[in-house]
Symmetry: C2
Subunit: 307 residues, 2 copies
């Protein structure tokens, strides 16, 4: 088993969906990634920052999931990053109502010395310079995975390109892949992104699943067709956490093994959206995961007799 | 092997895409369905109507593919149905520039007596009353497959509901499934459509593939990620033709076999979009189809080790 370093936000979210709304609840990319990767019992550490207002029971909960929090800085006099958003009826688009960076504005990530030798690094969505700083603190990771979003393409493209050049895998959604490359075809976009640095490109298409590209190979992981998406918040991070966690657990970064990793990512994300925030991820059993993996198999596996 | 009856338009299309434009070329739902089903060497017949302006070499070509055209009425004094459309840059939406019904306005379909005992009926997109008339002319088909579109939901919903109640399978796109049921979730929409009559629902999602629903089972056929979609015209009909043709060929209408049928449909549709109109379908070899089926396998097949 490999060690996994996770950098990303640990946050308060307030979410409104057609099904209801929440007060400030636990959120943040690193939180979702950590909880998802924790399903594989990997030795993981979160590198992030929170304010003095962050409840200690949340930290205790993360520790109880086997996540090292020595890299989770607490700025006592500061406030925790806060995001608030409202989803539209189709759940595929949302309005951001509030973004308060708070302690995140001056975040200077410190990878705990016990984790600078980690083999797998998952760079959750965050300022590219923070992501770059984490890469620089690592000894010689076997696999660096980058998640990012259009906000950084719009505002810090140069820094983002520096990070992209240094990572092995990028996970990005379809619209962002098109924005980054100016190509509508995701096949062509993936080829252009690989030319920027990463050996592997994962394009997330929400309810339409995810595509994994490597050289001239492509693999498709469907999203599970659901009766209801209750709250999409964190689905992409949960996908990334499942992907990174599975690879850290197995220590095998072949294309064949990455296929399994994207299936595990899709599987875990399909749970995440069933409840508000992290709720569903906190009560998830191995048995439920195994049953859902069977659903993924029957959803996509077929025998063809060539005639 | 079963006989296959295909009803639908045989038409002239004039198409404009970002890659170029065509004059009036061969088109129509029944044409695409017929050419696709012909890949399985089934005994099929097209029931349709054309005008005196329809070139005899098109008819000869259909016959050369083993398609019976005795049910293709030629109205010498009339003109063939004509559609013209222009695709937007994303290829996912289009404007209809011209629709001239011509001989289609008074079309009264006649199933040739040699084909009223066919086991499989593919009702291509057309007025629901025409589709209904074909159903009524059949002896006792084992499987009736319906393709339709939003135009008939907007204008002839009552008649469409009568057809839906009588068919075994419906193929419909995602937006149309939502329109027909008022449900955003495709899982819920499929359940509601099955309650209207069909035992099987195929929801086509274009570049995002297709979902096959039956009772509580669901199967997902991806679309092949393509570098370039040259002309999407006829892709849905080609999908339906592959689906119907495979089922007619195998004579097996189990859910397991329908999984193969949707994969064959997706496979054939992936060729259709590579050239204007029917061009690619006319020069398609068995070897190319087999190679592409292998691509569909490597795109979706995986082994999961449960940990």
């Amino acid at each position: 088993m490999s060690k996994l370093v996770i950098v990303g936000t640990v946050a308060f979210d307030a979410i409104e969906t057609p099904f209801g709304k929440t007060d400030k609840i636990l959120g943040g990319a690193a939180t979702y990634i950590g909880l998802s990767a924790a399903q594989f019992n990997v030795d993981s550490a979160i590198v992030s920052v929170v304010g003095g207002d962050f409840p200690s029971e949340y930290i205790t909960m993360l520790e109880s999931k086997g996540i090292d929090v020595s890299g989770l800085e607490i700025v006592e006099e500061g406030k925790t990053f806060f995001w608030s958003g409202k989803y539209h009826n189709d759940m595929n688009s949302r309005d951001t109502l509030v973004t308060e960076l708070n302690v995140l504005a001056d975040f200077n990530p410190k990878v705990p010395s016990a984790y600078t030798d980690a083999e797998v690094v998952m760079l959750g969505n965050l300022h590219p310079l923070v992501q770059l700083s984490v890469i620089e603190q690592m000894d010689s990771p076997k696999l660096v995975i980058l998640d990012t979003m259009n906000f950084w393409m719009d505002n810090t493209l140069e820094e983002l390109m520096q990070v992209i050049a240094k990572v092995d895998v990028i996970t990005i959604n379809d619209e962002e892949a098109r924005q980054l490359t100016g190509e509508y075809s995701l096949v062509v976009a993936a080829q252009k992104i690989m030319a920027m640095g990463p050996d592997y490109v994962v394009i997330k298409k929400g309810e339409h699943g995810a595509l994994l590209f490597h050289q001239n190979d492509v693999f498709y992981a469907p999203a599970l067709p659901l009766e209801e998406v209750f709250d999409p918040t964190g689905a992409g991070d949960t996908f990334a956490g499942g992907f990174a966690g599975f690879l850290a657990k197995s220590g095998d970064i072949s294309f064949e093994n990455m296929k399994q990793a994207v299936i595990f990512g899709s599987c875990l994300a399909s749970f995440c959206v069933e409840r508000f925030g992290t709720e569903r991820m906190l009560e998830l059993s191995k048995k439920e995961i195994h049953q859902r993996l069977q659903q993924f198999k029957s959803l996509t596996q077929f025998e063809i007799e060539l005639t």
